[in-house]
Symmetry: D2
Subunit: 335 residues, 4 copies
C-alpha cells in the first residue's frame, strides 16, 4: 500500500483525485491537508459521505512528507512551489497540479504569473506529466508537473502532426471551449450561476496563462520556437473541454492520412482514442480518455479533441503519473 | 411622462424592471441609484448596452424624491424601510421589492428578520401589491409592498379555494421549486455554478422568510389564522417557480369544479390563466403571467402554479402596481 | 469469471451497467443484444470507444442463455417478461430492469400496464432487488426484479419509519423531482432539449406507473394496505432524483429521534447514508449511494432522499444484486 | 392596422414572431397556418395561453394572400419557395425565414440543397433582409429573404472590415457556437436532452448549409469571390450564437482602430452595438441586438459577435424587415 496525501483538499481537483484513489487497490489516503479548514473532508465534499472521511489538517510540509510517500498538490500556483521543495526534501514524491513546474524558464514564469518563482532552480528538470509523450522521464521522477487542462487538448492532437512535419508550426489557431468547473471552487462573478448559465463567452483572449505552456510543448514537438493563437470560451456545462484547432498542412493531405498518422502515434495508448466521428465532450465525461478526430476543410487541417477537464485534464492524469512513478499498472483505478 | 428612479440598481430585479420600463410609453427613467457603484448602468448590466445608459448615482432619499415621481426600491430588507419614509416624505410614491412592508406585525417581522423594524408604524397600512386581490387598495396608495416570488405561487391558486371554503385551511403543504436567479446577484457558494448546476436540493426547510408572508395572506383568505408547510427547492435553471400544493377539500369536489372556481375568480384578470394541462415554468418565462391548474388525487386537491420569479414574482408585478398607482392601463409594457 | 449478457443494449441503463461491469474484476461481458441494431456497441455509445467493443447481436433467448451465466435485461416492460422465462429455462440467471416482475398481482399489472402479463405465474415469487430490505431472498434467486428509480427514493426512507410505527401509513405525500435521463433514449417531445431545458413541470400526476410499486412495498413495511400520493416532476438536469416526503408521525417525535431510527436501520449498509444536512442530487451523482435526511416541520415529518436515477435507481442496484446472486462482495465495482 | 399571417406556425421561429408581433401596435395577426395541425395555436404553444389564440388553419396560398397583407413564412426550405410565388401573385408581401431566396444562383442552391429550386427565376432579385446593409432594397420589396442565424454573426462584424479593405478576404476562419433551439422543433437524436445537455460538439464541419450564404455576402463586401472556413458547434443552452472570427489584417492595425471602424459603420444602427468588453450570448438573449467586439492577437484580427439566434437571427430581423416594408418605425415592437 502506498500512503498518499492530498494538499489543497477543499478544491474540485482534490475531490476528483480522492474519488479516483478510492478505487485504487494500492493506495491509502493518509492525509487531507488545507490551510483554512479544520472540518472533515466529507463535510466539505458531501459526495464523500459514507465513502471516505478524514479530518482536514493544517500540516507542515515536513509532517506531510513524514506521513505520505506521495503527495498530490492541488495548491494554487506559487503556493505549490513554496511547499514542494520541503516535501521533496522530506523524502516524499509529488505530483503537482499547479503551473509552477510546467514552464522551463523563470523569466517566462515571471512574465505570466507576475511573481518571482519560489523554486526557480528546478525549472527545466521536472518532467511534464503527459505520459503519452514523456513516459520515460515520468517513471523515475520524484516530482512531476501535471499538465493544464487546455494544453492537454492542444498538445495531444498536434504533437504527432508537428513531429511528422505534416503541419506548419507558424499558423495555429486554437479555439477552446471549457465547462465551468475549470474555474475552480472559488466564488467569482463569472461563475455565478445566473451569469454563466445559458450563455457562452470568450475570456482572457490572447492572454490566458495556459498559452506559454502550450507554446513550450508545441515548440518542442515542432523543433522550432512557435506561438499559437489560443482563445478559451466559458461554456455552460460542468465538465469538458473541446478544442478546435485550425492549422495549415505542409503539403496536400487527406483526412484518412491524418487519422492514420494520429492512430499510429497513439496505437498503444490506453487513454487516447482516434475516432472517425465528431466527438462530443460528453463522450469522455467522467473518464481519463481523450478523443481526437481530424478533418481537411478549405485547404486547412482541423483537429478536434475532447477531454474531461477534471479527469484527463487534471486528476486522472495525476493518478496516471502516480501509477508510473510507483510502479503500478498505468491504468489502475482509471478504467 | 412619469419620472421614475430605481434603487439598488445593480441587482437582477432592478435590471428586469428597467428592461420592462424601457417598453413603457409613459415612463422616463431618471435615476439609477446604488450605494457602492459609480459606474454606468450599462457597464454593470451589459444587456443594456445601446439600449439604456445612466450613471449609477449614490443619491440621498431626498434627492431621489426630488427627481422622481415613483421609486422602485430593489434594496434588501431593512435597508429599504430605512430610506422609504424619507422618500415618501419627499413626495414620491414607492413600490418596494423588499419584504419590509409585507408583514402586518412588527413582532412577526422581528422574529423572522431578527431586527427591529425601522418604520414599524406603517406596518398594516401598506397594501400588498397583488392587484388580483388588492387592486382597490393599490390604486390610491403612496407605497405598495410588492409580493415575494414564492408567496405569489401560493396565494394566487389557494385564495379562491380558501375564500369559497372549498379547502381546509389547516393542512396545506407547499412544495416549491425555484430557479437560481431568485437568490440574487450576491455571490454565494450555493449558487456557484459547479455546485448548483445539474443538481436539485431543498433549502431553508421550515424556516424560509417567505413563510410568514404566505401564512398572513392565506389566513386572510381563509378568515382564520393558519400555518402552512412550505419547502423551497433550488432547481438548476435561471428562472421560474413551480409550486405544487397539496391541500384537503372540505367536501368531495371534482377537477372540473375546481377549475371552474378558479376560472370564475380570475376571469377578468389579464395575467392569471387557468389551464387544463400541467403547466411548465417555461410556459411563463419572460412574462408577467401565472398559469394555474388543479387536480384531485387520492382524496386530496392539488394545485400547480408557475411564474417567472423575476417578472410576475418581482419586476412585472411592480410595474403592474405602478400602472395602477399612476393611472396607466394595468397591462402597459407587460404584454 | 462470470459471463454476462446485456439485453436492450442501446438504452441508457444498458450503457451504465456496461460501464460499471468494466470495473468488475469477476465479469466478462460476452454479449450485447438488441433487436434492431447490428452496429458495434461503441458506435451506438461513443463513450465506450477504446474501452469496450462488441457487435450488437440479435440473439434468441436460448442463445443468450447458452452464452451467458447472468443476463441483465434492460428491455421495456412486457418485452422483458416474454424472453425471461426462456432465458431462465436455458439455465442463466436474470436481473430484470423492467417493471414486469415487481408487482405481485397480475390484476394490478394489467390495470397499470394495460396488457395481460406474459408470465403471470411467476408474480409474487420474484424478490424485489433492494438488498437493504430483501438481501436474503436475492442471494439464492435465479431472477430478481430490479426496483424502479422513484420507488427507491420512497421505499428506502419510509420503510424504517413504517416498520417502527413512527409514522402513519394513511397520509403520505411524495413530491419527486427527476433528471431527464429517466425518460430514456427514445425521442419524445417532452425531452426535446428546447422544451425541457430551463423548465420544471409535473407529469403523470396521480397516475405514474411507479405508484403501484411504491404502494405495494410501503404496504408491506406498514403491515396494512395503503396508498400514497405521488407526484413526479421533470427537472432540467441529466441525472438524479430528489424525493421530498411529507408524512404524519404517530406520536410526537424529534428530528434527532428520526435520524437515529434511520441510522440504526441502515448502519451496516454501504450504500445508504443518513445525513444531517439537506442533501443535493449532485452529492450522489455517478454513485450507488442514497443520502437520506429527516426533518420535523409544522407537526409533520419530512424525509428527503436523493439518488442517481441511473445508478442506485437502476444499473448500480442491478450490479449490487448480481454481486449477491453470484457470491461476490456486494460492493464490488460500485465504490 | 396591417393584417399578417404566419406560415409554419408550429415552429419555434413562428412562436417568436407571434410574441414580438403581439407587442406591435400596428399589427393584427389574422391567420396561423400549418399543414398538419388543426389545434389552436395556444394549445401548440402553451406560452401563448391567455395572450393569443387562433385556430391553426390549413389554408391555400391564395386564401392566405386574401386574408393577409404580409406573410411571415416559417416553412422549411423548398416548401417556402413553392407557396411564396402564389402568395405574391395574390398581392401579399412576404418575409421568408427559409434559405430559399438567400442565394443568388440556382446552381449553388441545387448543390447545397440537392433539389431544383422551385422558383429559380426570382433568385438574385430578392433583397437579403439585413437592414444594416440592405435597407434601401428592403423598403420597396414585396419579398425579403430573412438571413440565417449563423450568417448574421459573420456578415455583421466582417462586412465593415472587408469593405474598408482592413482585412484579407482569403483567410477567414469562423468558429461558431449555437444554442440548441437553432435546430428547431423537430425531434432529433442530437437534440434529445440527455444527449446534448452538458456537452459541446462540432457538427456539419465544412458542409453546413449556411456556408454558401456567408460566402456570397462576404464576397459582395470584399468585392472578390471568397470562401471562409466555418465550423458550427452545438452548445448546451437554449438560445444564442457566439461567433469567433479569426482573420488577417491587410496592414498593421490596433484594437482601437478596429473598434472605431466598426463604430463608424454602425453608429446609427439601433440593433448593432460595438462594445469594448468581451460579450456573452446572455447579454443579447431575448433581444434583437448584436454585440460585436474586436481584438488583435498574435498578428491576427479577431471579431466576436453575439446574437439571440431566434430574435436577431430570425424573428426579430423579420419584424425589422416588416417594419421597413410597411413604413413603420424600424424599431417598433423590438426594443
Amino acid at each position: 500500500m502506498t500512503r498518499v496525501a492530498v494538499l489543497g483538499a477543499k478544491g474540485y481537483t482534490a475531490l476528483e483525485v480522492i474519488k479516483i484513489l478510492l478505487r485504487h487497490p494500492g493506495v491509502e489516503i493518509c492525509a487531507t491537508v488545507d490551510l483554512e479548514e479544520s472540518n472533515r473532508i466529507d463535510a466539505v465534499h458531501p459526495s464523500l459521505c459514507g465513502r471516505f472521511s478524514l479530518p482536514i489538517e493544517n500540516l507542515t510540509p515536513q509532517e506531510v512528507a513524514e506521513r505520505a510517500e506521495c503527495v498530490f498538490s492541488c495548491l494554487p500556483h506559487a503556493a505549490s512551489a513554496t511547499v514542494i521543495p520541503k516535501i521533496l526534501a522530506g523524502g516524499a514524491k509529488v505530483v503537482d497540479f499547479s503551473a509552477d513546474y510546467r514552464l522551463n524558464s523563470p523569466e517566462v514564469f515571471k512574465k505570466w504569473y507576475e511573481i518571482d518563482h519560489p523554486d526557480a532552480t528546478r525549472l527545466g528538470n521536472v518532467p511534464y506529466g503527459m505520459p503519452e509523450l514523456f513516459r520515460e522521464q515520468i517513471i523515475p521522477a520524484p516530482l512531476v508537473a501535471n499538465p493544464g487542462c487546455y494544453p492537454t487538448t492542444a498538445i495531444l492532437p498536434l504533437t504527432p502532426l508537428l513531429r511528422a512535419k505534416l503541419i506548419e508550426p507558424d499558423d495555429i489557431i486554437l479555439d477552446a471551449k471549457s465547462g465551468i468547473s475549470g474555474a475552480g471552487r472559488k466564488l467569482n462573478f463569472n461563475t455565478h450561476y445566473p451569469e454563466c448559465n445559458e450563455s457562452i463567452s470568450a475570456y482572457s483572449v490572447g492572454k490566458h496563462r495556459h498559452l506559454p505552456e502550450i507554446n513550450q510543448y508545441l515548440s518542442l514537438a515542432a523543433g522550432v520556437s512557435m506561438e499559437v493563437i489560443f482563445t478559451p470560451h466559458l461554456t455552460p456545462m460542468d465538465r469538458g473541454i473541446l478544442t478546435t484547432a485550425y492549422v495549415r498542412p505542409t503539403q496536400s493531405i487527406s483526412q484518412a492520412e491524418l487519422l492514420d498518422a494520429l492512430r499510429d502515434f497513439y496505437q498503444n495508448e490506453p487513454f487516447v482514442q482516434i475516432v472517425e466521428h465528431l466527438p462530443a465532450t460528453k463522450d469522455v465525461a467522467m473518464t481519463n480518455c481523450c478523443h481526437i478526430t481530424a478533418r481537411v476543410v478549405g485547404g486547412r487541417v482541423m483537429t478536434i479533441a475532447v477531454i474531461d477537464n477534471l479527469i484527463k485534464g487534471a486528476s486522472g492524469s495525476a493518478v496516471q503519473n502516480f501509477n508510473l512513478m510507483f510502479g503500478y499498472d498505468e491504468t489502475l483505478a482509471l478504467l
